[in-house]
Subunit: 356 residues, 2 copies
């Protein structure tokens, strides 16, 4: 689902990687395309058509470009492009959003942070994605006396917290074995429950993993101060939205960062899954061939690893991307010095395929 803005452009480059895998590695995918976000609204009058929803549910993995754009700003809340993405997340029950914030060596100088603060950074935020303030009821804009009131509900059940926590602990075991859980237990009861449940799950089944807790405001500070202190960060939907974007920006190269949103295993054993680049639809550069397709290509690599048990092929793609960077190939978002010249979206895609 290419979606809006630069979505279609970056998705085109992923197609080249898929073609390369078929030709050179005998790995074949049955790919179909459909509309989401503003693109779906333009055709169907809704940001996600029921047929598209059904196709997503039946797929082994969904790869999404991006949604949203100023053209849709004045639409009614229920028709906004974002609702299409949120419906996918909710109905596919994709509760564990994995957002790696990784600093590529060749790009460490590109961060607004000092090189030694971010070089070698490799953390993952596990963001709960199907509950909390994004979905809690009651919600809406109501009339109260003679004024309006805007209401959203931050709401988490024990089992919702538990399954997100398990995803974080499992991930930590395959990494540096450390989880830091972030909430505002000092001011919100939902945070108190979050901390309790995470602690219980830890004690019951993951005592081997190192667990710490941090208030989310301090978490934002620590991410800016010394991000390498973390391994896996576990947090809720709304805090995760802010903190993962903050973490992503530390790396200085948003155009490089993939994400995976995973749910429960389907009958075939594969998890429900949606993969998408962390960058948005970037309407300001859409259609100009300036977008960096790498985040979308790396999102596809995550799909190979998490949905199709093709970890070796995923690594192959990641290595190709690193080689391209080391060779100095740069899209416009990665230019550093005046006089550096940028390659186009297409050229970047071609360079990755050539490196493969």
């Amino acid at each position: 689902m290419p979606g809006d803005g630069i979505g279609p452009e970056v998705m085109t480059e992923v197609r080249k990687v898929i073609a390369w895998l078929a030709e050179h590695r005998d790995v074949h995918f049955d790919v179909s395309e459909d509309l989401v976000g503003g693109a779906a609204y333009d055709v169907h009058g809704v940001p996600l058509h029921d047929d598209t929803m059904a196709k997503a549910q039946a797929a082994d993995a969904v790869l999404l470009g991006a949604v949203g754009g100023p053209k849709y700003d004045t639409l009614d809340f229920s028709l906004k492009p974002e609702r299409g993405l949120l419906r996918l997340r909710k109905e596919m029950d994709l509760f564990a959003n994995l957002r790696p914030a990784q600093c590529f060596d060749a790009l460490a100088d590109f961060s607004s942070l000092k090189r030694d603060v971010v070089a070698g950074l490799d953390i993952v935020i596990v963001r709960e994605l199907t509950s909390g303030s994004y979905f809690g009821e009651p919600r809406g804009i109501f009339k109260e006396g003679n004024e309006r009131v805007g209401i959203n509900t931050h709401r988490y059940t024990e089992s919702e917290i538990e399954r997100a926590a398990r995803a974080a602990f499992e991930l930590a075991r395959r990494r540096s074995n450390r989880v830091c859980s972030m909430e505002k237990a000092n001011v919100m009861e939902a945070g108190v429950l979050w901390r309790d449940v995470v602690t219980e799950v830890h004690q019951a089944d993951y005592a081997d993993v190192e667990l710490s807790h941090m208030y989310a405001d301090n978490g934002a500070m620590q991410l800016v101060r010394a991000p390498k202190q973390f391994d896996v960060i576990l947090t809720d939907n709304l805090f995760g939205d802010i903190l993962s974007d903050c973490a992503a920006m530390l790396t200085g190269s948003l155009g490089m960062l993939p994400s995976a949103s995973l749910g429960a295993p389907m009958e075939n054993g594969r998890p429900k899954a949606l993969y998408e680049p962390v960058h948005g639809s970037a309407p300001d550069i859409a259609g100009q061939g300036k977008a960096n397709p790498t985040a979308c290509v790396l999102s596809f690599a995550m799909a190979l690893r998490y949905s199709f048990d093709l970890g070796a092929e995923a690594t192959r793609i990641e290595t190709a991307v690193e080689k391209v960077l080391a060779d100095g190939v740069r899209t416009a978002d990665l230019l550093q010095a005046e006089g550096d010249t940028a390659v186009s979206t297409t050229q970047m895609g071609d360079a990755i395929v050539a490196a493969l």
Copy 2:
């Protein structure tokens, strides 16, 4: 109200500045001291005694050190030190929390961000402080079937948004005349109302101020990427908690940052007001004479400016602080190179008084 952790230590240094003003500037304050947070709990069994609340209501200004500490982590939610501070904010109706994030020239290298990204940084976050997820009802941990549910309510009325917006626009007029309002209008109805009301207030009374809107996740990214693009940032209680801490850390010197929380004018024309350093209670260094008292001294300077119409005296203190920094006097939190030696909390306070 010195409060907990390093609160009492930093407050002691403010006393010296108050004494200096009496002696050398013939400016006299009627100062009384009381307990808040864990310190109040230890004595009264509650984090804020009713008598203290009444004294705060009657005061022209409250200066607070910090609240909280691990000793109180297991206390029932309603008894936590933070509840004392939140009660003060709520009952004094301190809706406008002003948090400057200012990068002192002498300390620019101390940031984890590159010098050119933060040198000269001077932004203010106006955080709504009496509503939103911190106070909305229903709230609590409830039983639902056989599991617990944690609930908090993100709730804003039109008039709550309006008065915070006015505070931001008024402040912007005295600065660079630009306000950027942050919410998640793309996913939360409360954010839609927030954006609507801010836009209405702007059109009606502040069309001369430059207004922009940004999603809060993008706001976190932009703060890390290029914080100097902002002048005044307007946001709600919970986003403000995270974003202002993120902004504070950009400066690299949390021990330097003051804040003011302002309410409606009292009968004497002064606004209800509470001033506090942005840093917390820092239990790890409490009682060791390591704390930096500057943020608390600068919070007192803000009190002079906003509560007592003593802007010239406030500037005098701020200039003294800058001189002390330029002279290389550093508390432990501001040490950069190995071999640098730190002055104690007391010595820093004395240095500021000497510079005065």
